[in-house]
Subunit: 203 residues, 2 copies
Amino acid sequence: MKIGILISGRGSNMVALIDAIKSGEIPDSDVAVVISDKADAPGLEKARERGVETIVIERRGRPREEHDAEIIAELQKRNVELVCLAGYMRLLSKGFIRSFENRIVNIHPSLLPAFPGLDAQRQAIDYGVKISGCSVHFVDEGLDSGAIILQRAVEVKDDDTGETLSARILEHEHGAYVEAVRRIATGHLQISGRKTTFGITDE
Amino acid sequence: MKIGILISGRGSNMVALIDAIKSGEIPDSDVAVVISDKADAPGLEKARERGVETIVIERRGRPREEHDAEIIAELQKRNVELVCLAGYMRLLSKGFIRSFENRIVNIHPSLLPAFPGLDAQRQAIDYGVKISGCSVHFVDEGLDSGAIILQRAVEVKDDDTGETLSARILEHEHGAYVEAVRRIATGHLQISGRKTTFGITDE
């Protein structure tokens, strides 16, 4: 399975995916390209260190559709079958989502549908929840609203701040994202409407 | 601590609370009365079997405030300090909530703020979440929107229906509700705005 990863920043989930592919944990897959919309994204160097091709495609004030069309062209040129968002800080256009229907995944630092959008961990702290977590989900045209592939629960402690909770959730994000992509790569994930099921239990 | 419990149905969480008080798990407390808005609520018999006074106060088409005023009077007559909703199927009036500010608790079968309102387990199945759970929370004037005391996460399985998920969550509800009331009864729960904290960790 050829994978393209989109980043805007440090790309810690990108690193987790690349390393899991290299180790064989995600089988029969290859990261064809890492694309960043920011020239100074620290994740770019980490991708290059791991021998992965990187491209910077900045928005430069262009309409979203135009920016996305350039990204889509680069992904299609490399026969990318699955697009993984890893801290990519832009909403995708409808054209992008239609070009890769049910083939774009994202990880979000909350138990969706709770706390979609920016600063999910801070939202969780402000609401006062005792359990939050992370969700790997397909990307649709809504905000963090696509079908959920898997979720991991993370305890919120009484003295947590947005920062300490973010760090604790991040520890779970890497394993969750790798497991979700592994399920897709091995062909065992079925999608029916909003429901995803996994043919083989991992217990 | 004198506790009043409001039910509309089988009262399984009511039974858990009464039994935990009898066993001393919730210390220095007493269920002063169980009030049902339904004369045929099966929980009434279970309360009587356990030696707890029961009262039926039906709505009978009266305005909510009037119905609630009668319930409040019975609770106040018995010096109830904490009101526990246990499958009580009516929204409380503002007057009720103001009469027992931060002294009404409820348990809800989802990880709030996800899936408030009726049929939370069915909502969770329809959304396609992989983790749901239950939340014990203070009751405010919104719908399942008060400060959260504690939450427990419960896995949603691929073949779950609303019924099987309800049954799995219910197993966790009893322990969660008992633990939340124990924290209040022992005076270790602090509330500040939407945040509750527990002075002593239970680990």
